[in-house]
Symmetry: C2
Amino acid sequence: VTRKASIRDVAEAAGVSAATVSKVLRGDPGVHETTRDSVNRAIRALDYRIDPLAANLRRGQRSLVGVIVPDFQNPFFGEIVATLESLADAEGLALVAMSSWESDAREAELIRKMNDWRVAGLVIAPVVSGAVTAGRLAQCGLHATLIDRTDGGTGYDSISADSTAGTAEAARALIASGHRRVLLVASSRELPNMAARVEGFLAAVRGRIETDIVWCGRDRAAMGGILAAHLDRTSRPDALFPLFLPGLIVTLRELRARGWHYPAGVSLVCFDDADWLAAIDPPIDAVAQPVRDLGREAFRRLLLRIRGSTAPGESCLLPCHFHRRGSIAARSAT
Amino acid sequence: VTRKASIRDVAEAAGVSAATVSKVLRGDPGVHETTRDSVNRAIRALDYRIDPLAANLRRGQRSLVGVIVPDFQNPFFGEIVATLESLADAEGLALVAMSSWESDAREAELIRKMNDWRVAGLVIAPVVSGAVTAGRLAQCGLHATLIDRTDGGTGYDSISADSTAGTAEAARALIASGHRRVLLVASSRELPNMAARVEGFLAAVRGRIETDIVWCGRDRAAMGGILAAHLDRTSRPDALFPLFLPGLIVTLRELRARGWHYPAGVSLVCFDDADWLAAIDPPIDAVAQPVRDLGREAFRRLLLRIRGSTAPGESCLLPCHFHRRGSIAARSAT
DNA sequence: GTGAAAGCGCTAACAG
DNA sequence: CTGTTAGCGCTTTCAC
């Protein structure tokens, strides 16, 4: 295997200087057509490929975009990354994806690391809330857009699903079908999006449904026990509403453990969607987040920042879609 | 926002030369303790962080490793990426993740792109098979290990789950519980791992179960129709065995559409596992791949290559684990 | 239009 | 032990 061709090799082969090759490479108009052709021929002949790292070193700007999500295994974030990747690709940018493992300390470290890599910008789903993440971003002077777990007023653009409206829609469905007691299965109180989901529900319900909330935390291993304990010491609700996908998993486990069946014995609806919710029997109603739109909008705004926009940071809420699949059954008024 | 501190700023602040700072940075022993201290103080004072790109440019070696998977949204690959990321991180390497979107052409492009980025090495799950991917890798002279969809003999290390043994185990369970006709729901004949799963089953069964196979392809939108058409024109099997997760999804849809129930009417077992298989009711038996081990082993071997190993490429099969959950019911002998 | 020279931030080779 | 010099692969300025 021979050494990779460098710009100098191309220059030599084309009988011009490296500077001229560089101009051709970047599409600089000030190059004679004849010269351009012979350079292009040399490039092809040597199978030359530019080194983007070296190029950007001198240029100062970077062709790298970063994304930080709390968890790669969560399909929600998987789809976010997939979306960003194809968008970045279309712009000729490479995407560096890292996961904060739901750890605040690691998030801080990753932001610094992304900065070391001189990424042009960053799309980040904060581990906790936008405020603390924004502080770290500002310290680095990094372009960024916040996504998913955001709470506005950070100076950065932030994109999330309209959780409030989403849960409200589910709430109305539960009210309409005569439910009296529902249990919200939530993760952590600290997460602004989780808080928004809860509040959206409560606001829509306004006391017409007795609403209980169990905060199960973010540790998957512990969630099941917390939910079980809660169900043990309260009376049986007529609907269960997990506000996040792992919460649905533990909820289903508990249903089975207790021999409860949905929708007959208890209604079920979930915030967040996945393909299997529609495939199993009975299928499960879900409030689906506009995942791809979230990714697209986040990237669009990041690009504007990279291109120099200095408009004040805006919060943007994208509408959810409620999929009715029959896991909310009509309850007769007691 | 002030310009980032460079190594020269640190040198100046510490009253030494840039070369000395560089030595301190890299932990070169040939630096006086006093000097080292003052350099470190300056680093801290200026909040200096080294630019890994510039460093590696000169050094020639790279601190980037790449991973290419066919699909980020598949939780299997999500977990692979997550595993690699934490391993790379521990080695001080950054991970660049890209997805080939199940497209052969894009895979070719991505390999070239990874090469442009001068990654130290690449973990790649081929879109089709190891052979064609290996050719492209060789052309770039890239260190790499193949994962998941591999077929050995490529000159590269390749790591996959022992699909043959995995499906064989499921086959024995089906035989033991008296099944006579099973339908294997497979994706694409071209994929070596899929072929191995089918063959493993057939070999274990050796005619004791009448085995039908439907190749549903890799296009999620089309799979359902293909399976439905197949079920329409064949007699009802007493067990269904999807060999990949999206195959299970469409299988479940068909079961519901036809009013078939598992395990009573038909047994069900899946190759590949996910948390929800154990949570739903009834839970579904699954052959789980050792995902994290696959990732770990792939990375370990890649590291050896990067460190200079020139041993001939090896294939490595890691054992699957069969989770019995009761979705295979006993059939009375007819 | 083109090329020589300088330099991006860092490391390597070698003198002192 | 430390600094000087050269240079990684590319871009940029500015003469010509």
